[in-house]
């Protein structure tokens, strides 16, 4: 498989976990660019074309809340996890732990 193929699979894998990462991160209020930066600083490079529309979609699904504030003479939209998001997050986290554990077990079979 060529590099482009591997990159596509890698991108799809990241897309799968980005919701969980964002919900975890937004337990503290953040604005769009700071979410992107914090994800990158913690080792999860996400395409900005994926992240910013995703924040809006999660808000429309009721998992996030947002408000506009003017800081440093510039309006910024701040996102934070909603009460519904707080209910959903532990379930998603549990699901993620189960997936990681299952993939580790499966990878042991192949060795």
């Amino acid at each position: 498989m060529n590099d482009i193929g591997i990159e596509t699979i890698s991108l799809e894998m990241r897309r799968g976990v980005i919701v969980l990462a964002v919900l975890n991160l937004l337990q503290e209020e953040q604005y769009g660019y700071s979410v992107l930066r914090l994800l990158a600083e913690n080792g999860l490079d996400v395409d900005q074309g994926t992240l910013y529309p995703l924040l809006r979609r999660l808000e429309s699904q009721g998992l996030l809340e947002s408000n506009w504030r003017v800081e440093e003479a510039r309006p910024r939209r701040y996102y934070t996890i909603s009460p519904l998001g707080r209910q959903v997050l532990p379930k998603l986290q549990k699901e993620w732990d189960a997936i990681v554990s299952a993939v580790q077990n499966i990878s042991m079979i192949g060795r």
Binding site: Y31, G32, Y33, S34, R37, Q48, G49, T50, Y52, P53, R56, W68, R74, P75, R76, R77
Partner: protein
């Protein structure tokens, strides 16, 4: 920052009016944050080169706008196989009719090589025009169905029970895709008969060798056309109602029975009345021996159509009786 303003304005051109202002405000805020961060990282004030680099990373305005929109299809994956199948069938019929008409016309004309080439080229262009026009109509109809299906209530995955599969063959269940061929063929027939009905026919040479157009459908047929249109439009309404509900309901069953009764009334009146195929015997007889042969073909087609209408009466009556039996079973 003029470049940034132009970029944001172009993103806005590709966004729906409803959310445009809010999305653009957010994109501007994000871009300004990104530029500020880049300026700090590179240790020098913001310049145009930096703006160009950041905008290139963000992507073209149309790509950025598309990422904020839900996936939209003119003809989506659900309908695409049916679209391809029906397109092949309908365009195949149009092409076949075009080739037969061209062959008959060629046989009838006395042509030199030059006029023959000119005549064939003209006819081929007409066939290509018809194919493109029909293809456009099919795409339009499917796009309307795609839109209607997008409004239909999706199947509820939470309440779906695998044991209900045995009821899937239930006489009341209607699969949305099962209605699509009906809808497409009805709309196609409505367009053809209402817009091109008078142009269905063929050219024949008269005694002087001049081409004369003999229409296939008689004036009698066009007297029935408003009622045919009404029945087909009501049929479309029924198909759309069935797609939306996903099943037969008492009112749709009665509606179908009523529609069948109306269709039978129309068909009986068409069978007992004058022929719906043109009676051009006088015109054709004047063309000599070939004309009288063609007149015979027209009369034969007229009888054939009456036979076909009788078959349709029987099929529609069976359909209506089945509908009544199913209503009785339900009770």
């Amino acid at each position: 920052m003029e470049l940034l303003d132009k970029y944001i304005a172009q993103v806005g051109e590709n966004l729906p009016r409803k959310d445009r202002e809010d999305i653009l405000k957010e994109i501007r805020s994000i871009l300004e944050d990104t530029l500020e961060s880049r300026s700090q990282a590179e240790g020098h004030p913001l310049d145009e080169k930096m703006v160009v680099s950041v905008l290139k990373e963000f992507g073209s305005p149309s790509k950025v706008a598309a990422s904020y929109l839900p996936p939209r299809y003119l003809i989506g994956p659900r309908l695409y196989p049916t679209f391809i199948m029906l397109t092949k069938i309908i365009l195949g019929i149009v092409l076949l009719v075009g080739i037969v008409t061209l062959s008959v016309s060629l046989f009838q004309q006395t042509l030199t090589i030059e006029t023959g080439i000119e005549f064939i080229l003209k006819k081929v262009l007409e066939i290509i025009g018809s194919l493109l026009s029909v293809f456009g109509n099919i795409v339009f109809v499917f796009a309307c169905i795609e839109w209607a299906l997008s409004l239909a209530k999706p199947e509820d995955e939470q309440t779906w029970d695998p044991t209900s599969l045995k009821n899937e063959t239930d006489i009341d269940t209607v699969k949305p895709l099962s209605q699509v061929p009906d809808i497409v063929l009805t709309i196609f027939s409505l367009i053809v008969l209402n817009l091109f009905g008078h142009q269905i026919g063929a050219y024949f040479n008269d005694a002087a060798g001049q081409p004369v157009f003999i229409p296939a459908l008689s004036a009698e047929f066009f007297r029935y056309l408003p009622l045919i249109n009404l029945i087909w439009v009501l049929g479309l309404v029924l198909s759309i109602a069935l797609i939306r509900a996903g099943k037969w309901q008492p009112w749709t069953r009665w509606f179908k029975i009523g529609l069948d009764a109306l269709s039978i009334t129309l068909l009986v009146s068409m069978v007992s009345g004058r022929s719906i195929v043109t009676d051009a015997a006088d015109k054709l007889m004047a063309m000599g021996p070939t004309g009288s042969q063609i007149a015979g073909i027209y009369t034969g087609v007229g009888y054939g159509m009456k036979a076909l209408l009788i078959v349709l009466i029987i099929v529609t009556a069976i359909d209506a009786v089945q509908g009544i039996i199913q209503m009785v079973k339900r009770k």
